[in-house]
Symmetry: C2
Subunit: 132 residues, 2 copies
């Protein structure tokens, strides 16, 4: 690698690590506008719960499976190669975060994504990682 | 509370806690369909990184602020009542998860949401908690 290439790499690294303002200077109109539209305490708590529930590979696999079709707990245990009780545990956490819902049919319980917001939220996240 | 009301409450609670199939029974077509469309290892890793980055109230406040308009690091420090260095630290984590991007203008660094996927993902999550 030439000296020039090394310099180039270093300068990009420095920029990435230290991307902050060089002197304190702010826009009072922008600050005021945003401060008047802050998340409430309840909203930020509920959002954190949702995103924590999504921060697990197993639960992401469950959501991805349910984004394709409604499945019963037994189907999900086969898809993920996990015990029914392990899947049920993860489903309870997803249900508590309002990400999935269920309906009973005979002796089976069928799960699906809670509503269209969850469908879209998951679809955009997946599109983002596929496009990045 | 009457005995009937107590029974009603208990039965709802049992249903919520134990919403699982009563006997093992699966749909092989559904299982096969979903198994052929599983998330890849890379996709589930990247999704987990995104959702972990979103599992913090401070970072959610930053994203919510940036969902309204582009802001420099100093603006964000005033909006959130945090030091510039604390805000920079959180922005680095959000940048690493590809949730925000920045541009330099003179001595200032302006941050915004990374792209339309992030805008939509955040908007749907917020709509979900507001609607729930």
């Amino acid at each position: 690698m030439s000296t020039e290439e090394i310099k180039g790499t270093n300068s990009r690294r420095t920029e990435d690590i230290d991307a902050t303002c060089e002197e304190f200077c702010f826009n009072p109109i922008a600050v005021d506008y945003v401060q008047k539209r802050m998340l409430t305490e309840k909203e930020s708590t509920l959002l954190t719960e949702i995103f924590k529930a999504l921060s697990s590979k197993t639960r992401l696999h469950i959501l991805h499976a349910l984004s394709q079709r409604e499945l019963c707990v037994c189907d999900l245990s086969l898809v993920l190669d996990l015990s029914v009780s392990a899947v049920s545990h993860q489903l309870r956490l997803l249900k508590a975060a309002r990400l999935v819902k269920y309906r009973r049919e005979g002796k089976n319980v069928y799960y699906s994504l809670d509503d269209d917001h969850v469908v879209s939220l998951f679809a955009y996240a997946l599109e983002h990682v596929r496009h990045s």
